[in-house]
Amino acid sequence: MTEFVKYSASRLKEKITQDSLTASDIASSVAVRYDKVEEKVKGFAHFNKVVLSERAKELDKKAISGALSKIPVVIKDNICVKDELTTCSSKILVGFRPPYDATVITKLKESGALLLGKSNMDEFAFGSSCETSCYAPTNNPYDTERVPGGSSGGSAALVAADETVLALGSDTGGSIRQPASLCGVVGMKPTYGRVSRYGLIAFGSSLDQIGPITKDVNDCAALLNVISGYDPMDSTSADIPVPDYMGSLVDNVKGLRIGIPKEYDTESMFFDKKVPVNETGVKIKEAIKLLKDLGAEVVDISLPHVKYAVSVYYIVGCSEASSNLARFDGVEYGYRDKEASSLIEMYKKTRGKGLGSEAKRRIILGTYTLSSGYYDAYYLKAQKVRNLIKQDFDNAFSRCDIIMTSTSPETAWPKGLKTKDPLLMYLSDIFTIPANLAGIPAISLPCGYDSQGLPVGLQFMAKYFDEELLIRAAYTYQQNAGWKRKKPEL
């Protein structure tokens, strides 16, 4: 059987028209691929072949002619899909089936997309390696002994492993871009407010954003087209018209001013946690040179406050998370400890057993930073520094149109390497976090492989609501990059 899921969405669309493929044909191809490689990848948190085949038949009956008609999409396990398991890869939400669709899911359904299932993730998106999931950790398709990145590791790995065509992730500090980078796929965190958060189970509400994880930049534009837009159910979504991002698939960076921040030098950002110089920087330099050759202008810029980004992020993110995760108390839904004999005991045992250690660590951190007597020193100060970081970007964008860095300081690392050292793990997101703090859009796309054959990703960041420029720059790079793409061997 033809493995339709290997195609990009744009290619599959052509195939569907040419060969009059049904959703059921495509679902079968998904099932075949699943049987072949999922054991090695472990990207799904919830996948049911029977349900998928029924859903495909249903879809064929409805014959929706939307932009993503019959295109397979995987949904990160923290996005609510009506009546489907949605657990944030946490024991505390075991068995939880939301009675409603997230706004992005409504949009996907209206576009005719074929929803495959839910992808594995770090528990509540707390992590950069997919190892804090209550299920088995997801493996990197390029080397199954290595992590796929996180927290949207399942989504990125499934796209890379051709188990799906498209995927949705969520990005609070790099959770879309970093796994996309480590798995050699394209991932975008849109501007805060571009995509509705309604139905995304919150981690850091002022940082979270849903975004596409795709095989190429074209698909990224197509999926972004479907999920973007103002939502009256989300007060933080922006009432700003959405352009047709397909129009940004233009091969042209002539005159584009690309800012290279001097602070994004790996060594200076790693504090005392020095890591050996890796090949990531080399690949980024090659990409810069290519864009320069294509007519872009390279500008040195400075973002003096981004060195505080990780600290600020862990205060703001954990503070919000400590409050957002309070509702998992065993009262209404999800896991409840049966042994408890009093209310307080129920809370303690339910949360004690239902939440993993990284979730507890962040809840405790956030509870501390919001406590009376510490609020000013931590939360309030962090918010002030966050404003300074925003200003850094505003200033930088007066000198350049787009900022370019590597997405992750390193390529995929062996599983277990950082699980015992949370701080080292936190630093994996050092290059991605600033965009979340500022709220600006950013994209990660593959820019080659290191000597071990592991994907390297480059990151573009743009001004608020300028996803068009991100797509144009990324598309131009994609169309002109000289290195040869290779699929993971599974």
């Binding site: 609510c80 939301p98 409603y100 309604y198 189970i201 159910m233 933080t236 108390d329 209404e332």
Partner: protein, 480 residues
């Protein structure tokens, strides 16, 4: 209490009667089967997000303006974090350091002096659900129908110096709120709730005493009773040389006593922080002005107008304006029958008496202004006597029927036929020769007795003026 000065501050929680809840589209209504007025947002389901109801904001601004509180230019919502099963998100959306409005005052009067009670702030927050305990099965249930109901918290300054003042403050604020038509203000149904802070200190001492917070106050009277109890309890402790500890106490209505709930050390750290789901926003000053212009006449202004334009007494005017429904009923009546004093007598007399005796809110009264003034006109045109009118009015209040119908149905039309009255008078005089003699010998009040007898014989239907005239005439005739 003569040795001590009492200091009281009140926190009122007011449910606003918006069409939908504070942050979702669920109906905001009382009652209903448990958990039927709910949706992912008010159930706090994972992934759901709040969106501010614009009618909630308008109502809140209306109250703030009516209480002379300064509506802020910019406001935000904060999260108040604490665990409780009736709070589905385990945090309450409230306002901390940038509330809807700051300052303001409520003027209370004891009939002689007016005192201004300052307000600290007016802020918006969502209500929690309700726990239902089943002691037989040792289980508890949660009803989330009330979750997300829009509340306003009105915090007074510690300007109240007696339980009686606290009571008057509540009555006054309720009457203002009723005029705004934004809340049912029903303490029994919980649409108006009140917590009190009270401390006492020896006369002459400048700094305030240690405050105690009182909760579970379920009526205005309960607030007053609990404060009186607490005032005495604290005074006794001070007299005995005991130290008052800062604590929260629950009022026990049955025992008429307060009981300790938690001390300051046990107080929650609510970890307030700005709710990232609801961004700070600027309140449109055009909207505020629009609401200000649409405010109805407030009770104080109305009272003055009634005294000035209708010639009412201070007392009558105060009684009328204390209830918005009564004052507008009065105004409708005056339009139909321009004798304000006659109307106010019926309203504050028989009508209020009936409503109080039967525990009926004025707004739920069945009789209309057309019906009341219709009845008064029946007295004016001698169809019924004033005495019969009282009977007719009672029927009207019970049935909601008009005076005309009742009078006809019950045959209560006044007897003005002189022939009939003369026959009745003749009977009365024949039956009471001694009283007639008393009258002739100069005891003028004997006449009243004879007229009374005649009225009795006519079952109250005789025209009293005619009865009076005819009896007098007949006695004169008999003497001649």
């Amino acid at each position: 209490m003569s040795h001590y000065i009492t200091t009281i501050g009140l926190e009122i929680h007011l449910q606003l009667s918006t069409k939908t809840k504070a942050f979702c589209a669920c109906p905001n209504s009382f009652g209903g089967e448990p958990n039927t007025f709910t949706c992912p947002v008010c159930l706090g389901l994972p992934g759901s997000l709040p969106v501010l109801n614009s009618q909630y904001l308008r109502h809140a601004i209306k109250v703030a303006l009516a209480l002379s509180s300064n509506v802020s230019g910019r406001m935000k919502f904060d999260r108040k974090n604490y665990f409780y099963p009736d709070l589905p998100k385990d945090y309450q959306i409230s306002q901390y350091d940038m509330p809807l409005a700051l300052g303001g005052h409520v003027d209370i009067t004891d009939g002689h002096k007016t005192k201004s009670i300052g307000l600290t702030r007016v802020h918006m927050e969502e209500d929690a659900g309700k726990l239902i305990h089943d002691n037989k099965r040792a289980s508890s249930y949660v009803d989330f129908n009330r979750t997300g109901t829009p509340l306003l918290e009105i915090v007074s300054e510690p300007d109240i110096s007696s339980p009686e003042e606290a009571y008057r403050y509540l009555v006054t604020i309720k009457s203002i709120l009723k005029y705004l038509d934004v809340s049912d203000c029903n303490m029994e149904e919980g649409s108006l709730r009140c917590d009190a802070n009270i401390s006492i200190r020896p006369k002459g001492q400048q700094e305030l005493g240690t405050k105690v917070e009182l909760k579970n106050l379920n009526s205005f009277k309960g607030v007053r009773d609990a404060l009186i109890y607490e005032e005495k309890r604290q005074a006794r402790m001070l007299l005995d040389g005991e130290v008052i500890v800062q604590q929260t106490r629950l009022w026990n209505e049955q025992k008429q006593a307060s009981e300790p709930m938690r001390t300051k050390e046990q107080a929650h750290d609510y970890r307030y922080f700005p709710d990232p789901d609801l961004l700070p926003f600027t309140i449109d000053s055009v909207l505020v002005e629009e609401i200000r212009l649409s405010l109805p006449e407030m009770p104080e202004e109305k009272r003055e107008r009634f005294i000035r334009d209708c010639g009412l007494s201070e007392y009558d005017a105060s009684v009328l304006v204390s209830d918005r429904a009564m004052s507008s009923f009065f105004e409708s009546c005056v339009k139909l029958y321009p004798e304000p004093k006659v109307i106010v007598n019926w309203l504050t007399g028989d009508i209020q008496g009936y409503l109080n005796a039967n525990n009926i809110e004025f707004s739920n009264m069945k009789t209309t202004p057309q019906q009341l003034t219709g009845m008064i006109r029946l007295i004016d045109n001698n169809t019924i006597s004033g005495r019969i009118a009282k009977e007719v009015l009672f029927d009207m209040l019970v049935t909601g029927n008009s005076a005309d119908g009742i009078v006809k149905e019950k045959g209560l039309i006044q007897i003005s036929d002189e022939g009939v009255i003369e026959q009745l008078a003749a009977d009365v005089l024949n039956e009471n020769p001694k009283v007639v003699d008393d009258y002739i010998s100069g005891k003028t009040n004997a006449l009243g007795f004879l007229v009374g007898q005649l009225m009795k014989k006519s079952k109250g239907k005789a025209n009293p003026q005619l009865a009076n005239q005819i009896i007098k005439k007949k006695i004169e005739q008999a003497r001649e």
